[in-house]
């Protein structure tokens, strides 16, 4: 089987957000190509941001992604607030983190229960899975709903929330509005801990990311809404120095821009966040992690579902802590006046670090914007992961190997519609 040439192709990758495809070429046992093609049409966000008011990027860039709009809103706010020299009042920082917890919960649960678990149990989708295991899917949907309820109460709606503003919020909730949310989160936390034991019994193929890991770093908290950047090789730098280290290049064979870290392949996302910041998880999250055998580091992408679950436990607990300590802030937002400066901002989208840079002109308009989404940072690592998985499983049939390749990409939860940076590509047959 390994002696012949094989060409595996997935024309449209299912259960990922956005449009992508795979192309694998194996010639006499050697993996010649393992490519993730992203054929999402470009939407030119960085171009259409030019000439918009400095207050607009949080709303506009949220439209890059329907799954992680808060990540775009917050990275944009961080960059613009840095440019304007503004710091949020501490209660507003907490409220922003609380909103982001909602997105982590909703996005991770969407990925785990609707897109990822079917892979482990051999179903094409969550609806088919629900016929066999209704309890598991219903539990997952109720956990997801806890996140979405938090987004709706604090942000107005779960997709493209309307309440995020430069400097804070348009309005801040009455603590009484958050009480029913807390109730859902408490039930969700119990469900997450129960689910952890179920998911830990899945069969996880062997695989390992051997590249450098990159995540945000915050002195006091598990990184979510902001931070500096640190890596597994010990690098540490602020958002403002991001593009000194992370460089994107455009490749002809690929549909996305490839980012490298000082010329090296690297990965961002749950595995990186978890491995670099394990000590900052809550006691409950660490306990769940230990119970399901994760340890303090995880580099197996197939086990990313367990890491996401631990992060959901953390986000639910963190949200409950933030709600318990919530007092209505004196003002919903800090005033932000424009300055002719450049600002850089990062935050941890559920699927990895998201960098924004804006140049603001003297007229208060954006003169240039740069957005580096997690999927473009992970593209090289995903392809390397794909190559290794194919090389290690050449004895599988074409159909089984193709399915394993699709799983390999879904492990990373790529957010392909972050197409600010993605190109179209004609599939090349062979």
């Amino acid at each position: 089987m390994t002696s012949r040439s094989r060409y595996l192709k997935v024309e449209s990758l299912a259960r990922v957000e956005g449009e992508g495809a795979l192309r694998i070429v194996v010639d006499r046992g050697v993996v010649e190509a393992a490519e993730l093609h992203i054929y999402e049409p470009p939407r030119f966000f960085e171009a259409l941001l030019r000439g918009r008011a400095y207050t607009e990027p949080p709303d506009i860039t949220s439209r890059i992604c329907g799954i992680c709009p808060v990540a775009y809103q917050v990275s944009a706010c961080n960059a613009l607030e840095q440019a304007c020299g503004v710091e949020l009042d501490p209660p507003l920082i907490d409220l922003r983190r609380l909103l982001y917890c909602g997105e982590w919960i909703a996005s991770h649960c969407l990925h785990m229960f609707l897109l990822h678990i079917p892979d482990f149990l051999g179903y094409p989708d969550a609806v088919a899975l629900a016929r066999a295991e209704p309890g598991l899917v219903e539990q997952g949907l109720s956990m997801k709903k806890a996140g979405n309820t938090l987004l709706e109460v604090l942000g107005g709606r779960a997709i493209h929330p309307v309440n995020v503003k430069l400097g804070g919020f348009y309005s801040v909730p009455d603590p009484r509005d958050l009480a029913p949310v807390a109730e859902r989160l408490r039930a969700g936390l119990d469900a997450a801990v129960r689910t952890a034991r179920q998911i830990a019994r899945f069969d996880f193929p062997d695989a390992e990311l051997d590249c450098e890991l990159l995540a945000a770093d915050h002195p006091e908290r598990y990184p979510i809404e902001t931070g500096e950047i640190h890596t597994s090789s010990g690098m540490r730098f602020p958002a403002a120095e991001f593009t000194r280290h992370v460089v994107e290049r455009q490749g002809r064979h690929s549909t996305a821009l490839y980012a490298t870290l000082d010329g090296r392949r690297y990965a961002t996302g749950p595995l990186a966040r978890y491995t670099l910041n394990f000590p900052q998880l809550s006691a409950t999250a660490r306990q769940v992690a230990n119970e399901i055998g994760l340890g303090s580091a995880c580099r197996n992408p197939f086990r990313s579902i367990l890491v996401r679950l631990v992060e959901v436990v953390y986000a639910m607990e963190e949200a409950l802590t933030l709600i318990a300590g919530y007092r209505r802030p004196l003002r919903p937002a800090v005033p932000v006046r424009s300055r002719a400066r450049t600002g850089h901002g990062v935050s941890e989208a559920p699927r990895g670090l998201l960098y924004h840079r804006y140049d603001i002109g003297v007229d208060g308009l954006v003169s240039a914007a740069e957005i580096i989404p997690p999927t473009s940072q992970n593209q090289a690592a995903m392809e390397e992961d794909l190559r290794r998985v194919v090389a290690a499983n050449l004895d599988l049939s074409d159909a089984t190997l193709t399915a394993l390749c699709e799983r390999t990409i879904r492990n990373h939860d790529p957010c392909i519609s972050c197409s600010a940076h993605f190109l179209t590509l004609d599939m090349v047959g062979r």
Binding site: R43, A47, C65, R157, I159, T424
Partner: protein, 256 residues
């Protein structure tokens, strides 16, 4: 053969947010899946059945030659076609390219623009094929989506409003942000359907559901200006999520 009606969900140029709205119906998703068979939905399922389909939900705008071809095919395969969201109904925010030089946009974003295969315009689905219904919004409203699917199952037409956001504000009991606080708001000219969300959050409507039927934009312009918006501010707020809607497009605004 089962007689369960079939649903297909299609993505064109978009952020996925509108089709995601279906997966955000946590309480209704499994019940709905019992009433209507999800026959094609790439974001949610690895299984795909061939058409024809009873209902197709189409998200996103048409921006590539391939999408031009695909929309015709989907129309032929669909008994009822519903365009969902601002991209599918108005071209989305990416329709700002319609008023710019797309080649320049391309070279601003990509080092090797020659690899890019894109149309110079971003257009709504109804520019290319007949559309049975349109759900507005960036993103669509979950309740409206559910109502539309339920209407289909009940054999009636969906109840899609064509009034302004103002009517929803009144029903919700929200104090008018413009009258009470001088906050500029596009509510008077924007189609209802969101439940008057932004004013309830102390923010003026920014028009993400696009223009209502026959909006009186010229009556609103002086009010926006009195409330502190410059001519450029007004231009920008209309040129956002439904920039390509003729009623919101620039030439019309500057006429007396």
């Amino acid at each position: 053969m089962t007689t369960t009606p079939t649903l297909a969900v299609w993505k064109f140029t978009s952020c996925d947010g509108c089709q995601l709205t279906l997966l955000d119906c946590e309480d209704e998703l499994l019940a709905l899946a019992g009433q209507i068979r999800i026959a094609h939905f790439t974001e949610a399922s690895s299984a795909a059945e061939p058409g024809p389909y009873d209902v197709s939900l189409v998200e996103g705008s048409v921006t590539t030659p391939e999408e031009l071809r695909r929309i015709t095919e989907i129309r032929e395969q669909s008994r009822i076609l519903v365009a969902i969201g601002a991209c599918a109904t108005h071209g989305g925010i990416q329709a700002l390219r319609n008023f710019a030089d797309t080649a320049e946009f391309t070279s601003a974003v990509y080092a090797s623009p020659e690899y890019i295969d894109t149309l110079a315009t971003s257009t709504p689905i109804s520019d290319h094929v007949p559309v049975d219904y349109e759900l507005r919004g960036c993103p669509i409203d979950r309740r409206q989506l559910l109502d539309t699917l339920c209407a289909f199952l009940a054999g009636r037409a969906p109840d899609i409003p064509n009034t302004s956001v103002c009517t929803e504000c009144k029903r919700r009991g929200t104090t008018c942000v413009t009258v009470a606080e001088g906050i500029p708001c596009l509510g008077p000219v924007t189609q209802a359907g969101c439940g008057a969300l932004c004013p309830a959050y102390h923010r003026g409507c920014f028009g993400c559901f696009g223009p209502m039927a026959e909006p009186n934009i010229h009556a609103l312009l002086p009010i926006l200006r009195v409330n502190g918006m410059s001519v450029d501010d007004v231009d920008r707020v209309f040129a956002t999520y439904a920039a390509a809607a003729p009623e919101f497009a620039e030439p019309r605004r500057d006429q007396p």
